[in-house]
Protein backbone atom coordinates (compact mmCIF):
# COMPACT_ATOMS: atom_id res chain seq x y z
CA UNK A 1 0.00 0.00 0.00
CA UNK A 2 1.44 3.39 -0.95
CA UNK A 3 0.56 6.80 0.35
CA UNK A 4 3.10 9.02 -1.25
CA UNK A 5 2.14 8.12 -4.80
CA UNK A 6 -1.49 8.97 -4.32
CA UNK A 7 -2.26 12.37 -5.76
CA UNK A 8 -4.92 14.63 -4.40
CA UNK A 9 -6.60 17.62 -6.09
CA UNK A 10 -4.14 19.74 -8.01
CA UNK A 11 -1.66 16.88 -8.41
CA UNK A 12 -0.26 17.26 -4.91
CA UNK A 13 1.00 14.09 -3.24
CA UNK A 14 -0.27 13.27 0.22
CA UNK A 15 3.19 13.79 1.64
CA UNK A 16 3.44 17.28 0.10
CA UNK A 17 -0.06 18.09 1.31
CA UNK A 18 0.85 17.11 4.85
CA UNK A 19 4.01 19.21 4.65
CA UNK A 20 6.45 19.73 7.53
CA UNK A 21 5.42 18.01 10.70
CA UNK A 22 4.00 14.99 8.91
CA UNK A 23 4.94 11.58 10.24
CA UNK A 24 7.67 9.56 8.54
CA UNK A 25 7.29 6.52 10.81
CA UNK A 26 4.14 5.27 12.50
CA UNK A 27 3.97 2.22 14.76
CA UNK A 28 0.42 1.32 15.73
CA UNK A 29 -0.14 -1.36 18.38
CA UNK A 30 2.77 -3.50 17.16
CA UNK A 31 3.28 -6.88 18.81
CA UNK A 32 5.96 -9.54 18.42
CA UNK A 33 6.79 -12.72 20.30
CA UNK A 34 9.33 -15.48 19.73
CA UNK A 35 7.62 -18.67 20.92
CA UNK A 36 6.68 -17.94 24.55
CA UNK A 37 8.85 -14.83 24.86
CA UNK A 38 7.01 -11.58 24.28
CA UNK A 39 9.46 -9.04 22.83
CA UNK A 40 7.03 -6.26 21.93
CA UNK A 41 3.75 -6.31 23.86
CA UNK A 42 2.04 -3.24 22.44
CA UNK A 43 4.16 -0.53 20.86
CA UNK A 44 2.78 2.65 19.35
CA UNK A 45 4.71 5.79 18.44
CA UNK A 46 5.17 8.33 15.68
CA UNK A 47 8.31 9.96 14.31
CA UNK A 48 7.85 13.38 12.75
CA UNK A 49 9.85 14.24 9.65
CA UNK A 50 13.18 15.91 10.43
CA UNK A 51 13.08 14.94 14.12
CA UNK A 52 15.09 12.51 16.23
CA UNK A 53 13.55 9.81 18.37
CA UNK A 54 15.82 8.60 21.16
CA UNK A 55 14.84 5.12 22.30
CA UNK A 56 16.10 4.14 25.71
CA UNK A 57 15.75 0.91 27.62
CA UNK A 58 17.62 -1.90 29.23
CA UNK A 59 19.11 -4.73 27.18
CA UNK A 60 16.38 -7.03 25.89
CA UNK A 61 13.64 -4.41 26.16
CA UNK A 62 12.92 -4.63 22.41
CA UNK A 63 14.70 -1.50 21.13
CA UNK A 64 16.70 -3.13 18.35
CA UNK A 65 13.71 -5.28 17.41
CA UNK A 66 11.75 -2.10 16.65
CA UNK A 67 14.42 -1.02 14.16
CA UNK A 68 14.44 -4.44 12.52
CA UNK A 69 10.65 -4.37 12.14
CA UNK A 70 10.87 -0.87 10.73
CA UNK A 71 13.33 -2.07 8.09
CA UNK A 72 11.27 -5.16 7.34
CA UNK A 73 14.01 -7.49 8.62
CA UNK A 74 11.44 -8.89 11.06
CA UNK A 75 7.69 -9.15 10.59
CA UNK A 76 5.43 -8.26 13.54
CA UNK A 77 2.75 -10.65 14.79
CA UNK A 78 0.22 -7.83 14.97
CA UNK A 79 -0.23 -4.08 14.46
CA UNK A 80 0.53 -1.70 11.64
CA UNK A 81 3.85 -0.14 10.63
CA UNK A 82 4.09 2.79 8.22
CA UNK A 83 7.47 3.97 6.94
CA UNK A 84 7.85 6.71 4.36
CA UNK A 85 4.29 6.12 3.24
CA UNK A 86 4.66 2.34 2.86
CA UNK A 87 2.94 -0.18 5.07
CA UNK A 88 6.00 -2.36 5.65
CA UNK A 89 4.33 -5.01 7.81
CA UNK A 90 2.55 -6.45 4.80
CA UNK A 91 5.12 -6.00 2.01
CA UNK A 92 7.00 -8.90 0.43
CA UNK A 93 10.82 -9.07 0.59
CA UNK A 94 11.07 -7.81 -2.99
CA UNK A 95 8.78 -4.83 -2.26
CA UNK A 96 10.73 -4.06 0.91
CA UNK A 97 13.92 -3.62 -1.13
CA UNK A 98 12.37 -0.47 -2.62
CA UNK A 99 11.38 0.88 0.82
CA UNK A 100 14.88 0.24 2.18
CA UNK A 101 16.36 2.45 -0.53
CA UNK A 102 15.19 5.47 1.45
CA UNK A 103 16.39 4.22 4.83
CA UNK A 104 19.92 4.04 6.19
CA UNK A 105 20.80 1.79 9.09
CA UNK A 106 23.82 1.91 11.37
CA UNK A 107 24.13 -1.48 13.05
CA UNK A 108 25.68 -2.26 16.42
CA UNK A 109 29.47 -2.58 15.88
CA UNK A 110 29.01 -1.10 12.39
CA UNK A 111 28.47 -4.40 10.51
CA UNK A 112 30.95 -3.33 7.83
CA UNK A 113 31.72 -5.91 5.15
CA UNK A 114 35.10 -7.38 6.14
CA UNK A 115 36.18 -8.26 2.63
CA UNK A 116 35.57 -4.78 1.18
CA UNK A 117 37.58 -1.58 1.58
CA UNK A 118 36.16 1.48 3.33
CA UNK A 119 35.37 3.01 -0.08
CA UNK A 120 33.60 -0.13 -1.26
CA UNK A 121 31.65 -0.33 1.99
CA UNK A 122 30.54 3.28 1.86
CA UNK A 123 29.72 3.20 -1.85
CA UNK A 124 28.26 -0.33 -1.71
CA UNK A 125 24.75 0.62 -2.68
CA UNK A 126 25.91 3.05 -5.35
CA UNK A 127 28.38 0.58 -6.88
CA UNK A 128 25.92 -2.32 -6.80
CA UNK A 129 22.60 -0.75 -7.57
CA UNK A 130 22.99 2.44 -9.52
CA UNK A 131 24.06 3.25 -13.04
CA UNK A 132 26.22 6.15 -11.87
CA UNK A 133 29.70 6.35 -13.43
CA UNK A 134 32.43 4.99 -11.14
CA UNK A 135 34.20 8.35 -10.76
CA UNK A 136 30.92 9.96 -9.70
CA UNK A 137 30.39 7.25 -7.07
CA UNK A 138 33.97 7.74 -5.88
CA UNK A 139 33.34 11.49 -5.51
CA UNK A 140 30.23 10.81 -3.41
CA UNK A 141 32.18 8.34 -1.27
CA UNK A 142 34.91 10.93 -0.70
CA UNK A 143 32.26 13.52 0.14
CA UNK A 144 30.54 11.42 2.82
CA UNK A 145 33.83 10.22 4.25
CA UNK A 146 34.89 13.86 4.47
CA UNK A 147 31.63 14.57 6.31
CA UNK A 148 32.57 12.05 9.00
CA UNK A 149 36.22 13.22 8.90
CA UNK A 150 37.63 9.94 7.62
CA UNK A 151 38.69 10.97 4.12
CA UNK A 152 42.21 9.63 4.50
CA UNK A 153 40.97 6.13 5.40
CA UNK A 154 39.20 5.60 2.08
CA UNK A 155 41.35 2.69 0.88
CA UNK A 156 41.81 0.97 4.24
CA UNK A 157 40.18 -2.33 5.20
CA UNK A 158 37.67 -2.29 8.09
CA UNK A 159 40.02 -4.44 10.19
CA UNK A 160 42.53 -1.56 10.15
CA UNK A 161 40.07 0.86 11.79
CA UNK A 162 39.36 1.53 15.46
CA UNK A 163 35.90 0.91 16.93
CA UNK A 164 34.89 4.57 16.65
CA UNK A 165 36.14 4.84 13.08
CA UNK A 166 34.16 1.74 12.12
CA UNK A 167 30.96 3.31 13.50
CA UNK A 168 31.65 6.51 11.58
CA UNK A 169 32.26 4.55 8.36
CA UNK A 170 28.96 2.77 9.05
CA UNK A 171 27.28 6.17 9.35
CA UNK A 172 28.90 7.25 6.08
CA UNK A 173 27.63 4.08 4.39
CA UNK A 174 24.12 4.65 5.71
CA UNK A 175 24.04 8.26 4.45
CA UNK A 176 25.76 7.70 1.09
CA UNK A 177 22.51 7.42 -0.86
CA UNK A 178 20.94 10.41 0.91
CA UNK A 179 18.12 8.53 2.67
CA UNK A 180 15.33 10.43 4.40
CA UNK A 181 15.45 8.24 7.47
CA UNK A 182 18.46 7.00 9.44
CA UNK A 183 18.34 4.33 12.13
CA UNK A 184 21.11 3.98 14.70
CA UNK A 185 21.33 0.78 16.71
CA UNK A 186 23.50 1.38 19.79
CA UNK A 187 25.95 3.52 17.79
CA UNK A 188 28.14 4.37 20.77
CA UNK A 189 28.02 1.21 22.86
CA UNK A 190 31.49 0.04 23.82
CA UNK A 191 33.19 3.30 22.85
CA UNK A 192 35.07 5.60 25.19
CA UNK A 193 33.32 8.94 25.94
CA UNK A 194 35.54 10.99 23.61
CA UNK A 195 35.08 8.65 20.63
CA UNK A 196 31.37 8.35 21.45
CA UNK A 197 31.07 12.14 21.24
CA UNK A 198 32.56 12.13 17.72
CA UNK A 199 29.88 9.63 16.70
CA UNK A 200 27.18 11.72 18.41
CA UNK A 201 28.42 14.78 16.52
CA UNK A 202 27.88 12.97 13.20
CA UNK A 203 24.33 12.10 14.21
CA UNK A 204 23.66 15.74 15.11
CA UNK A 205 25.22 17.00 11.87
CA UNK A 206 23.07 14.69 9.76
CA UNK A 207 19.91 15.74 11.58
CA UNK A 208 20.52 19.48 11.54
CA UNK A 209 22.47 20.03 8.33
CA UNK A 210 21.06 17.30 6.08
CA UNK A 211 17.56 17.34 7.61
CA UNK A 212 17.47 13.56 7.97
CA UNK A 213 14.91 12.06 10.35
CA UNK A 214 16.42 9.54 12.72
CA UNK A 215 15.78 6.99 15.41
CA UNK A 216 18.62 6.34 17.81
CA UNK A 217 18.42 3.27 19.98
CA UNK A 218 20.74 3.36 22.95
CA UNK A 219 21.15 2.66 26.62
CA UNK A 220 23.88 5.26 26.90
CA UNK A 221 22.06 8.15 28.60
CA UNK A 222 24.99 10.51 28.20
CA UNK A 223 24.91 10.15 24.41
CA UNK A 224 21.13 10.41 24.20
CA UNK A 225 21.11 13.68 26.16
CA UNK A 226 24.09 15.01 24.19
CA UNK A 227 22.27 14.42 20.88
CA UNK A 228 19.07 15.94 22.29
CA UNK A 229 20.68 19.06 23.69
CA UNK A 230 23.15 20.01 20.95
CA UNK A 231 22.81 21.30 17.45
CA UNK A 232 25.08 21.65 14.40
CA UNK A 233 25.68 24.91 12.56
CA UNK A 234 27.89 26.13 9.75
CA UNK A 235 30.07 28.95 11.00
CA UNK A 236 32.71 30.64 8.82
CA UNK A 237 32.78 27.64 6.50
CA UNK A 238 33.20 25.20 9.38
CA UNK A 239 30.70 22.94 11.07
CA UNK A 240 30.39 23.53 14.80
CA UNK A 241 28.41 21.68 17.45
CA UNK A 242 26.86 24.02 20.01
CA UNK A 243 24.24 23.71 22.77
CA UNK A 244 20.75 23.84 21.28
CA UNK A 245 18.09 26.38 22.21
CA UNK A 246 15.04 25.30 24.21
CA UNK A 247 12.77 24.86 21.18
CA UNK A 248 15.31 22.62 19.47
CA UNK A 249 15.81 20.55 22.63
CA UNK A 250 12.05 19.96 22.80
CA UNK A 251 12.10 18.55 19.24
CA UNK A 252 14.16 15.55 20.32
CA UNK A 253 11.72 12.97 21.62
CA UNK A 254 12.72 10.42 24.23
CA UNK A 255 10.99 7.08 24.48
CA UNK A 256 11.65 4.54 27.21
CA UNK A 257 10.88 0.86 26.71
CA UNK A 258 10.38 -1.74 29.39
CA UNK A 259 9.27 -5.35 28.89
CA UNK A 260 8.04 -4.64 25.38
CA UNK A 261 5.95 -1.61 26.37
CA UNK A 262 6.48 2.14 26.05
CA UNK A 263 6.72 3.43 29.64
CA UNK A 264 7.69 7.02 28.82
CA UNK A 265 7.44 9.47 25.94
CA UNK A 266 8.49 13.09 26.13
CA UNK A 267 11.38 15.52 25.78
CA UNK A 268 14.61 15.76 27.76
CA UNK A 269 13.01 18.05 30.37
CA UNK A 270 10.08 15.68 30.93
CA UNK A 271 12.46 12.76 31.33
CA UNK A 272 14.59 14.57 33.88
CA UNK A 273 11.49 15.66 35.80
CA UNK A 274 9.87 12.22 35.85
CA UNK A 275 9.14 10.74 39.27
CA UNK A 276 8.62 7.22 37.95
CA UNK A 277 10.79 4.91 40.12
CA UNK A 278 11.95 2.83 37.13
CA UNK A 279 12.95 5.93 35.18
CA UNK A 280 14.68 7.36 38.24
CA UNK A 281 16.67 4.13 38.61
CA UNK A 282 17.54 4.18 34.93
CA UNK A 283 18.59 7.83 35.05
CA UNK A 284 20.70 7.39 38.13
Amino acid sequence: MELRDREGPGGVTLEEALGPGSPIVVFDRVKLAFDETVVLADISFTLIKGRTKLMLGASGSGKSTILKILLGLLRPDGGVVWVNGHRVDELSEDQLMAVREDIGMVFQEGALFDSLTVAENVGYKLYEQSDKPLDEVRRRVEEVLGFVSLGEYIDRMPSELSGGQRRRVAIARAMATKPRLLLYDEPTTGLDPITATTVDDEIIKLRDLENISSIMVTHQLRDAFYVATHTARRQNGRIVIVPADEAKVREAEFMMLRDGLVVFEGDAGDLRASEDPYLRTFLS
Binding site: K68, A111, D114, Y124
Partner: protein
Protein backbone atom coordinates in the same frame (compact mmCIF):
# COMPACT_ATOMS: atom_id res chain seq x y z
CA UNK B 1 11.02 -38.90 26.13
CA UNK B 2 8.22 -38.80 23.57
CA UNK B 3 8.08 -35.02 23.84
CA UNK B 4 11.83 -34.79 23.25
CA UNK B 5 11.55 -36.99 20.20
CA UNK B 6 8.66 -34.91 18.88
CA UNK B 7 10.61 -31.68 19.41
CA UNK B 8 13.63 -33.16 17.66
CA UNK B 9 11.52 -34.32 14.73
CA UNK B 10 9.85 -30.91 14.47
CA UNK B 11 13.21 -29.15 14.44
CA UNK B 12 14.63 -31.58 11.86
CA UNK B 13 11.59 -31.15 9.60
CA UNK B 14 11.77 -27.37 9.91
CA UNK B 15 15.46 -27.56 8.99
CA UNK B 16 14.74 -29.66 5.90
CA UNK B 17 11.86 -27.38 4.95
CA UNK B 18 14.09 -24.31 5.15
CA UNK B 19 16.78 -26.08 3.13
CA UNK B 20 14.28 -26.91 0.39
CA UNK B 21 13.00 -23.31 0.36
CA UNK B 22 16.56 -21.96 0.13
CA UNK B 23 17.39 -24.38 -2.69
CA UNK B 24 14.26 -23.33 -4.57
CA UNK B 25 15.05 -19.65 -4.15
CA UNK B 26 18.63 -20.28 -5.26
CA UNK B 27 17.55 -22.02 -8.45
CA UNK B 28 14.96 -19.31 -9.19
CA UNK B 29 17.44 -16.52 -8.49
CA UNK B 30 20.02 -18.10 -10.81
CA UNK B 31 17.79 -17.34 -13.78
CA UNK B 32 16.55 -13.86 -12.84
CA UNK B 33 18.10 -10.45 -12.34
CA UNK B 34 19.96 -8.97 -10.54
CA UNK B 35 22.82 -11.38 -11.20
CA UNK B 36 26.14 -10.72 -9.44
CA UNK B 37 28.52 -11.80 -12.19
CA UNK B 38 31.68 -10.60 -10.44
CA UNK B 39 30.86 -12.62 -7.33
CA UNK B 40 30.21 -15.69 -9.49
CA UNK B 41 33.64 -15.36 -11.10
CA UNK B 42 35.26 -14.88 -7.68
CA UNK B 43 33.59 -18.03 -6.36
CA UNK B 44 34.58 -20.06 -9.43
CA UNK B 45 38.13 -19.06 -8.64
CA UNK B 46 37.85 -19.71 -4.89
CA UNK B 47 36.05 -23.04 -5.14
CA UNK B 48 37.50 -24.29 -8.42
CA UNK B 49 41.07 -23.06 -8.68
CA UNK B 50 41.46 -22.90 -4.90
CA UNK B 51 40.63 -26.59 -4.51
CA UNK B 52 42.94 -27.77 -7.27
CA UNK B 53 45.91 -28.71 -5.05
CA UNK B 54 43.91 -30.80 -2.63
CA UNK B 55 42.08 -32.55 -5.48
CA UNK B 56 45.32 -33.27 -7.37
CA UNK B 57 46.95 -34.79 -4.31
CA UNK B 58 43.85 -36.79 -3.33
CA UNK B 59 43.34 -38.08 -6.86
CA UNK B 60 46.97 -39.08 -7.37
CA UNK B 61 47.37 -41.00 -4.11
CA UNK B 62 43.96 -42.66 -4.44
CA UNK B 63 44.84 -44.01 -7.89
CA UNK B 64 48.27 -45.08 -6.72
CA UNK B 65 47.04 -46.94 -3.64
CA UNK B 66 44.23 -48.51 -5.64
CA UNK B 67 46.78 -49.94 -8.10
CA UNK B 68 48.94 -51.09 -5.22
CA UNK B 69 46.14 -52.88 -3.39
CA UNK B 70 44.38 -54.34 -6.41
CA UNK B 71 47.72 -55.50 -7.83
CA UNK B 72 48.15 -57.87 -4.86
CA UNK B 73 44.68 -59.35 -5.37
CA UNK B 74 44.98 -59.56 -9.17
CA UNK B 75 48.34 -61.36 -8.83
CA UNK B 76 46.57 -64.25 -7.11
CA UNK B 77 44.65 -64.83 -10.35
CA UNK B 78 47.52 -63.98 -12.66
CA UNK B 79 45.57 -60.96 -13.84
CA UNK B 80 48.10 -58.22 -13.16
CA UNK B 81 47.70 -56.64 -16.64
CA UNK B 82 44.09 -55.87 -15.78
CA UNK B 83 45.11 -53.38 -13.08
CA UNK B 84 44.39 -50.44 -15.41
CA UNK B 85 40.84 -51.68 -15.97
CA UNK B 86 40.22 -51.78 -12.23
CA UNK B 87 41.81 -48.43 -11.47
CA UNK B 88 40.07 -46.70 -14.39
CA UNK B 89 36.60 -48.03 -13.67
CA UNK B 90 36.87 -47.38 -9.91
CA UNK B 91 38.19 -43.87 -10.32
CA UNK B 92 35.79 -42.75 -13.04
CA UNK B 93 32.60 -44.30 -11.70
CA UNK B 94 32.96 -43.95 -7.97
CA UNK B 95 36.15 -42.84 -6.27
CA UNK B 96 36.78 -39.77 -8.40
CA UNK B 97 33.35 -38.19 -7.84
CA UNK B 98 32.97 -39.21 -4.19
CA UNK B 99 36.47 -38.43 -2.96
CA UNK B 100 36.55 -35.11 -4.83
CA UNK B 101 33.17 -34.23 -3.32
CA UNK B 102 34.32 -35.19 0.17
CA UNK B 103 37.48 -33.09 -0.20
CA UNK B 104 35.42 -30.12 -1.41
CA UNK B 105 33.06 -30.60 1.53
CA UNK B 106 35.99 -30.42 3.94
CA UNK B 107 37.65 -27.49 2.28
CA UNK B 108 34.83 -25.42 0.81
CA UNK B 109 31.80 -26.46 2.88
CA UNK B 110 33.48 -25.56 6.13
CA UNK B 111 34.77 -22.24 4.83
CA UNK B 112 31.38 -21.23 3.40
CA UNK B 113 29.58 -22.08 6.65
CA UNK B 114 32.18 -20.16 8.67
CA UNK B 115 32.13 -17.15 6.35
CA UNK B 116 28.35 -16.82 6.12
CA UNK B 117 28.01 -17.64 9.81
CA UNK B 118 30.45 -14.89 10.78
CA UNK B 119 28.61 -12.48 8.52
CA UNK B 120 25.37 -13.44 10.24
CA UNK B 121 26.56 -13.00 13.81
CA UNK B 122 28.16 -9.64 12.99
CA UNK B 123 24.93 -8.39 11.36
CA UNK B 124 26.54 -8.20 7.91
CA UNK B 125 23.73 -10.28 6.39
CA UNK B 126 21.16 -7.89 7.88
CA UNK B 127 23.29 -4.99 6.63
CA UNK B 128 23.12 -6.45 3.12
CA UNK B 129 19.33 -6.66 3.34
CA UNK B 130 19.17 -3.15 4.78
CA UNK B 131 21.18 -1.93 1.80
CA UNK B 132 18.64 -3.49 -0.54
CA UNK B 133 20.62 -6.58 -1.52
CA UNK B 134 19.11 -10.05 -1.41
CA UNK B 135 21.64 -12.26 0.44
CA UNK B 136 20.52 -15.32 -1.52
CA UNK B 137 21.40 -13.64 -4.82
CA UNK B 138 24.59 -12.05 -3.56
CA UNK B 139 26.01 -14.84 -1.39
CA UNK B 140 24.29 -18.14 -2.12
CA UNK B 141 23.79 -18.14 -5.89
CA UNK B 142 27.45 -17.45 -6.80
CA UNK B 143 28.68 -20.18 -4.42
CA UNK B 144 26.14 -22.77 -5.52
CA UNK B 145 26.81 -22.08 -9.21
CA UNK B 146 30.54 -22.41 -8.58
CA UNK B 147 30.00 -25.71 -6.75
CA UNK B 148 27.62 -26.98 -9.41
CA UNK B 149 30.01 -26.32 -12.30
CA UNK B 150 33.44 -26.68 -10.69
CA UNK B 151 32.98 -29.98 -8.83
CA UNK B 152 32.51 -31.87 -12.16
CA UNK B 153 35.60 -30.16 -13.58
CA UNK B 154 37.62 -31.04 -10.48
CA UNK B 155 36.30 -34.60 -10.64
CA UNK B 156 37.53 -35.04 -14.21
CA UNK B 157 40.93 -33.74 -13.12
CA UNK B 158 40.95 -36.10 -10.10
CA UNK B 159 39.99 -39.03 -12.36
CA UNK B 160 42.82 -38.28 -14.76
CA UNK B 161 45.41 -37.75 -12.04
CA UNK B 162 44.22 -40.88 -10.20
CA UNK B 163 44.61 -42.98 -13.33
CA UNK B 164 48.04 -41.42 -13.81
CA UNK B 165 48.92 -42.33 -10.20
CA UNK B 166 47.81 -45.90 -10.89
CA UNK B 167 49.98 -45.92 -13.99
CA UNK B 168 53.07 -44.86 -11.98
CA UNK B 169 52.62 -47.86 -9.66
CA UNK B 170 51.62 -50.26 -12.44
CA UNK B 171 54.55 -49.26 -14.65
CA UNK B 172 57.38 -48.79 -12.17
CA UNK B 173 56.49 -51.14 -9.34
CA UNK B 174 54.38 -53.84 -10.93
CA UNK B 175 56.14 -53.85 -14.27
CA UNK B 176 52.97 -53.58 -16.36
CA UNK B 177 53.70 -52.10 -19.79
CA UNK B 178 52.26 -48.62 -20.38
CA UNK B 179 50.39 -49.71 -23.51
CA UNK B 180 48.76 -52.60 -21.64
CA UNK B 181 47.72 -50.31 -18.78
CA UNK B 182 46.11 -47.63 -20.93
CA UNK B 183 44.46 -50.13 -23.29
CA UNK B 184 42.92 -52.04 -20.40
CA UNK B 185 41.41 -48.78 -19.11
CA UNK B 186 39.54 -48.06 -22.32
CA UNK B 187 38.57 -51.70 -22.77
CA UNK B 188 37.23 -51.92 -19.26
CA UNK B 189 34.82 -49.01 -19.57
CA UNK B 190 31.28 -49.13 -20.88
CA UNK B 191 29.97 -45.97 -22.53
CA UNK B 192 27.66 -45.43 -19.53
CA UNK B 193 30.57 -45.27 -17.07
CA UNK B 194 31.98 -41.86 -18.03
CA UNK B 195 28.42 -40.52 -18.08
CA UNK B 196 27.85 -41.72 -14.57
CA UNK B 197 31.17 -40.24 -13.51
CA UNK B 198 30.36 -36.84 -14.96
CA UNK B 199 26.66 -36.54 -14.04
CA UNK B 200 27.05 -37.37 -10.34
CA UNK B 201 29.41 -34.46 -9.51
CA UNK B 202 26.80 -31.92 -10.65
CA UNK B 203 24.41 -33.21 -7.99
CA UNK B 204 27.17 -33.50 -5.41
CA UNK B 205 28.47 -29.99 -6.08
CA UNK B 206 24.99 -28.52 -5.64
CA UNK B 207 24.33 -30.44 -2.44
CA UNK B 208 27.67 -29.67 -0.76
CA UNK B 209 27.50 -25.92 -1.31
CA UNK B 210 23.78 -25.44 -0.74
CA UNK B 211 23.97 -27.32 2.58
CA UNK B 212 26.97 -25.22 3.64
CA UNK B 213 25.11 -22.01 2.73
CA UNK B 214 21.97 -23.17 4.55
CA UNK B 215 23.94 -24.01 7.69
CA UNK B 216 25.95 -20.77 7.49
CA UNK B 217 22.90 -18.55 7.10
CA UNK B 218 21.20 -20.13 10.12
CA UNK B 219 24.07 -19.57 12.56
CA UNK B 220 23.05 -18.31 15.98
CA UNK B 221 24.97 -17.90 19.18
CA UNK B 222 28.06 -15.89 18.29
CA UNK B 223 31.47 -17.39 17.58
CA UNK B 224 30.53 -20.66 19.28
CA UNK B 225 27.66 -20.95 16.83
CA UNK B 226 30.06 -20.38 13.93
CA UNK B 227 32.25 -23.23 15.18
CA UNK B 228 29.25 -25.55 15.49
CA UNK B 229 28.04 -24.57 12.02
CA UNK B 230 31.43 -25.38 10.48
CA UNK B 231 31.35 -28.88 11.96
CA UNK B 232 27.72 -29.33 11.00
CA UNK B 233 28.35 -28.26 7.39
CA UNK B 234 31.16 -30.81 7.00
CA UNK B 235 29.30 -33.66 8.71
CA UNK B 236 25.96 -33.03 6.98
CA UNK B 237 27.72 -32.38 3.67
CA UNK B 238 29.75 -35.60 3.86
CA UNK B 239 26.74 -37.74 4.75
CA UNK B 240 24.74 -36.04 2.00
CA UNK B 241 27.52 -36.76 -0.53
CA UNK B 242 27.41 -40.49 0.25
CA UNK B 243 23.61 -40.59 0.27
CA UNK B 244 23.20 -38.59 -2.94
CA UNK B 245 25.93 -40.68 -4.57
CA UNK B 246 23.97 -43.83 -3.73
CA UNK B 247 20.64 -42.56 -5.00
CA UNK B 248 22.01 -41.01 -8.19
CA UNK B 249 24.00 -44.17 -8.90
CA UNK B 250 20.87 -46.26 -8.38
CA UNK B 251 18.92 -43.99 -10.70
CA UNK B 252 21.57 -44.09 -13.40
CA UNK B 253 21.95 -47.86 -13.17
CA UNK B 254 18.21 -48.14 -13.58
CA UNK B 255 18.21 -45.74 -16.53
CA UNK B 256 21.31 -46.82 -18.48
CA UNK B 257 22.45 -50.30 -17.57
Amino acid sequence: MLTLLREWLKAALADVQEYVILSGRTVRSSFTRPFYFRDVVEQFDAIGVGSLTVVLLTGFFTGAVLALQSGITLDQFGARPLVGRLVGASMIKELGPVLTALMITGRVGSSIAAELGSMGVTDQINALRALGTDPVRKLVVPRVLAGFFMVPVLTVIADFVGIAGGWVIARFQMGVASGVYWTSITEGLFWQDPWMGIVKPFFLGFVIVSIACHVGLRVQGGTQGVGRATTKAVVAGSVAVLAVDFFVTKLMVWLFY
